[in-house]
Amino acid sequence: MIKYVLEESGEDMRIDEHPILTFAKDKKIRFTFNGKEMFGYLGDTIAAALVDNGIMEFSKSVIHERPRGFYCAIGNCGSCNMTVNGVENVKTCLTLLEENMVVENELSEVIIND
């Protein structure tokens, strides 16, 4: 079983003011990550909300358990796959955050066929 220690930078990674863009932060959304309560905003993907909450480790490599972030954010690389509301292998970079979502990346069992 691969265990995660939650590490948060505690730093706010949101852009407050931008010369070109405006970001709607109208509705706060509650979700849990590995059982811990977190908040994002309506329109966030799960991945964006996690980064904003200081989470950089999205998965662990299967054999050596090396921490992995995500690489592409558009659904190609697979590094951000997590279990969302009980469904495995959800691309968190392409999935919008919903109220009370249960997000987990602790893998219970990994089977590797050599």
Partner: protein, 160 residues
């Protein structure tokens, strides 16, 4: 060299400026040194002063007799490579494109930067800041600095 650093040599810079006598009126300085497929400077000019032609890869050529320094091309240039320069009473005046925050405010004193991003010895003064819908979030900032920095000044750094 520009291919390695992104910085033009003084000869290249001077080749884009008209004679100093001409700069008693504001003129557009187009720092586009390499051929890229792009022509908004030409199509945005209300006075037909900037010529590119059918092959949009050509480097823009400017007719300083026709250019009024109106600054339409500054915000049209996707490369933020155009400024308007003028000399008056021993000072160089520039209109530059600016897409960063915080925006300068008229009356403020800011550091002046050269093309390497180094701070010049003398500061510059913010004369005007124009934000219009047409310029689409590219602010046009008018600044003045002592005339010897005519070929060195390129943008503003930090508020002093």
């Amino acid at each position: 060299m520009i291919e390695k650093t992104g910085v033009a040599t003084i000869e290249m810079i001077k080749s884009k400026f008209p004679k100093k006598e001409v700069l008693t009126r504001p003129k557009a300085i187009i720092e586009c040194y390499t051929e890229i497929p792009c022509n908004p400077c030409s199509t945005s000019c209300p006075f037909d002063a900037i010529y590119i032609g059918k092959d949009i890869n050509q480097i823009p050529r400017i007719d300083f007799d026709k250019c009024t320094g109106c600054s339409s091309c500054i915000s049209a240039c996707p490369g933020l490579a155009i400024m308007v320069a003028m000399i008056k009473d021993g000072k160089a005046y520039f209109k530059i494109p600016y897409e960063l925050l915080p925006l300068p405010v008229r009356g403020e004193k800011w550091t002046a930067l050269n093309r390497y991003g180094r701070v010049l010895d003398k500061p510059c003064f913010i004369e005007n800041v124009m934000v219009t819908k047409k310029n689409d979030k590219t602010a046009i900032v008018t600044v003045s600095i002592e005339q010897p920095y005519l070929y060195e000044f390129v943008t503003v750094g930090k508020k002093l």
